[in-house]
């Protein structure tokens, strides 16, 4: 793994990290506090929500696919976990997180059925799944309106600290390392990018490509669900469309991290950098009280700049 990481430590991967550092230094000119532990560890915590989701997204994108069901998988998981925890019943409360994750995994499987078996483009199938989930949660909330509450564990995961480090961040890193091991220790990572480049040839190499797709999409579902659990623990509640702000930033983080949207090329480490960059950028634009118009313009321009640098490097190397 260390070896695999090392191989991935090329400059494209480091780019977003470097850019993040520049952002912080730039921002600190206006707000010296940005160099303070308080602000930085807070960014680690907030980055974790996007980060966890982006880990799953990276895996799906490596396949050359995309998962647009993130928002309402996240929302659904939050709704389920808070509903169970809200009952106050210790057993159900204990089930809150597992149930939410199970939900995420299940939706992942449903996504995979459409993509792997029916061969529907993930971009539209996951979109359709997303709108069904929206429908279900509207139906559910409107029909039952159960008391919702994040469990103590959820709060701790989202807002707690271990040795001064946000638990959410540690959790994210755990997920990242876990997946990285899975990618590099087993053939899984190989299969992902091989499929991302040429699914037919991979299938003809005796790889059960559908199983790989199923695995990848359910991992993505799990990650989105975990993101939902964390966000519910953070806001200490679930609410409709709480996942909407996460879809496009997730994709942005992955591609800024050097993973090719066409599949095949890329990795988790780059995405981690991409997540830091997006999180810091949003944070700084926000505290600068930039008008919304200018915020989105700057956001777009910076992303393009990053990608240009990336492709330029790519062409030299």
């Amino acid at each position: 793994m260390s070896l695999a990481i090392a191989r991935r430590l090329d400059l494209t991967t480091l780019l977003p990290f470097a850019a993040t550092v520049l952002l912080i230094l730039g921002g600190s000119l206006f707000f010296p506090q940005m160099l303070g532990i308080g602000y930085l560890s807070q960014q680690l915590q907030i980055a974790a929500f996007l980060g966890v989701i982006a880990m799953g997204a990276t895996i799906v994108i490596l396949l050359g696919h995309i998962d647009l069901s993130v928002p309402w998988v996240l929302g659904g998981a939050a709704l389920i976990s808070t509903t169970l925890a809200g009952t106050g019943d210790p057993l159900l409360t204990a089930l809150a997180i597992p149930a939410a994750l199970a939900f995420g995994g299940l939706i992942g499987l449903i996504n995979a059925v459409g993509v792997a078996l029916l061969r529907i483009p993930s971009m539209v199938w996951t979109l359709a799944v997303n709108s069904m989930l929206l429908g279900i949660s509207v139906l559910y909330t409107g029909g039952f309106n159960p008391k919702g509450e994040a469990s103590a564990t959820m709060n701790w995961l989202a807002t707690g600290k271990l040795a001064g480090i946000p638990v959410a961040f540690l959790l994210w890193m755990a997920v990242a390392v876990g997946l990285a091991l899975m990618l590099h220790r087993t053939g899984f990572g190989r299969y992902l990018s091989a499929i991302g480049y040429n699914e037919k040839a991979t299938f003809l190499s005796g790889v059960s490509t559908p199983s790989v797709l199923f695995a990848a999409f359910s991992i993505a579902g799990l990650c989105s669900a975990l993101g939902g659990v964390l966000l519910a623990g953070y806001a200490n509640q679930a609410y409709q469309s709480m996942g909407d702000p996460y879809l496009l930033p997730t994709i942005a983080a992955v591609v800024i991290g050097g993973t090719s949207i066409l599949g095949g090329k890329g990795g988790l480490l780059g995405t981690v950098g991409g997540v830091f960059f997006i999180t810091l950028l949003n944070s700084i634009l926000s505290v600068m009280q930039m008008s919304d118009a200018w915020r989105s313009i700057i956001f777009g321009v910076l992303i393009i700049t990053m990608l240009m640098v990336q492709t330029l490097r790519g062409r030299e190397g």
């Binding site: 303070g36 807070q42 909330t141 309106n145 469309s241 919304d292």
Partner: protein
């Protein structure tokens, strides 16, 4: 001289509108925009609860509710469809305040009564039901400033969804107060009416701007409070909206201030207004409903907030001056599957 002014309070300097009476029972539709939002779900529930009350049910032949998403063209199409289908009145939450002039003309021709509410229109040609958004903002800011004895150095202002008239007016209302406090630094962040987003941006604001003397916020203030707690920020006066979770926190933490809500139950008032107009009554063109509000000291579980309902539940369950507020049971009694 207008119908039930205690409820349908005229906005300052507004005109009156009336149509000639029609025979009931009526066909009425409620055309909502986006549905995946707790406030809107509550609004739909309130509308259905209203239609289910016997005294109203008697007056109604058909009642349709549709949600068209954040697409003004689709909303125009929906309204046109109900006009075409010969509906007597249509209430709606406008996706866009300026997109409905042609529809209004077509409605007039067809003799269909239009009653926008919540997100209303920039027009004086139809009766509109809303709380004064400017007042809603002003009220929160004023209360906070009063609690601060009229003086403050730094105020945090959490705005709603940008590019949206409702958000604009509420901000204008807050500014109308805060601008007059001299030496006041106003730090604005964009919370998008979203608890999680508010929590993030407020955390950042606290980390970079340090302490605030007070906070004024639109929807999502629960996030704002969480962030302040996490940052160990002292309790300061707050003006917030009316979600259940926010009131819980206010009561629990003894946060001084006010919770004034844009109440989803106004969907029912809009229907009430529609019927009143169809029955030939005159109403103010712009109705400013009495803003449901609670000072923190008056917060009482089960009365103006509900510990065993979700935090995302909107407490604005009615306007006492208009009719008995809906009980949560009444709202939920309307489970989605018995229309």
């Amino acid at each position: 001289d207008t119908y039930r002014p205690e409820c349908f309070a005229p906005a300052p300097g507004t005109s009156t509108i009336s149509y000639e009476a029609k025979e009931g029972p009526y066909k009425i539709a409620f055309v909502n925009g986006f549905a995946g939002n707790d406030w809107r779900i509550a609004a739909i529930q309130a509308a259905k609860a209203w239609a289910a009350r016997p005294e109203n049910a008697a007056k109604i032949e058909e009642f349709n509710v549709v949600s068209v998403g954040n697409d003004s063209a689709a909303q125009i199409a929906a309204i046109d469809n109900f006009i075409a289908a010969g509906f007597d009145a249509i209430t709606f939450i406008a996706v866009n305040p300026t997109a409905f002039e042609p529809v209004i003309r077509r409605a007039e021709r067809a003799g269909t009564v239009l009653v926008p509410f919540d997100n209303v229109l920039d027009t004086d040609r139809v009766v509109q039901i809303n709380e004064s958004q400017v007042e809603l903002g002003r009220l929160k800011a004023q209360t906070v400033m009063d609690l601060l004895g009229g003086e403050a150095d730094k105020i945090l202002m959490v705005n709603g969804l940008p590019g949206n008239a409702t958000d604009r007016d509420r901000r204008i209302g807050m500014m109308s107060v805060l601008e007059n406090v001299e030496g006041l630094e106003i730090v604005e962040v964009v919370g998008n009416w979203d608890t999680g987003t508010s929590q993030k941006v407020v955390s950042d604001a606290l980390a970079t701007h340090g302490q605030f003397d007070g906070v004024v916020s639109q929807h999502g203030a629960a996030g704002t409070i969480n962030a302040m707690q996490a940052a160990g920020h002292p309790i300061v006066p707050m003006g917030v909206d009316g979600e259940n979770g926010v009131r819980m926190l206010m009561d629990e933490l003894d946060i001084p201030g006010i919770s004034a809500s844009q109440a989803p139950a106004m969907s029912a008032i809009a229907l009430e207004a529609a019927v009143a107009l169809l029955e030939g009554n005159a109403l103010p063109q712009t109705v400013y409903l009495p803003i449901p509000q609670v000072k923190s000291e008056d917060l009482a579980p089960g009365v103006n907030y509900f510990p065993d309902l979700p935090k995302s539940f909107n407490t604005g369950t009615g306007f006492p001056d208009c009719f008995a507020p809906f009980t949560p049971e009444e709202l939920l009694g309307q489970t989605a599957d018995n229309t």
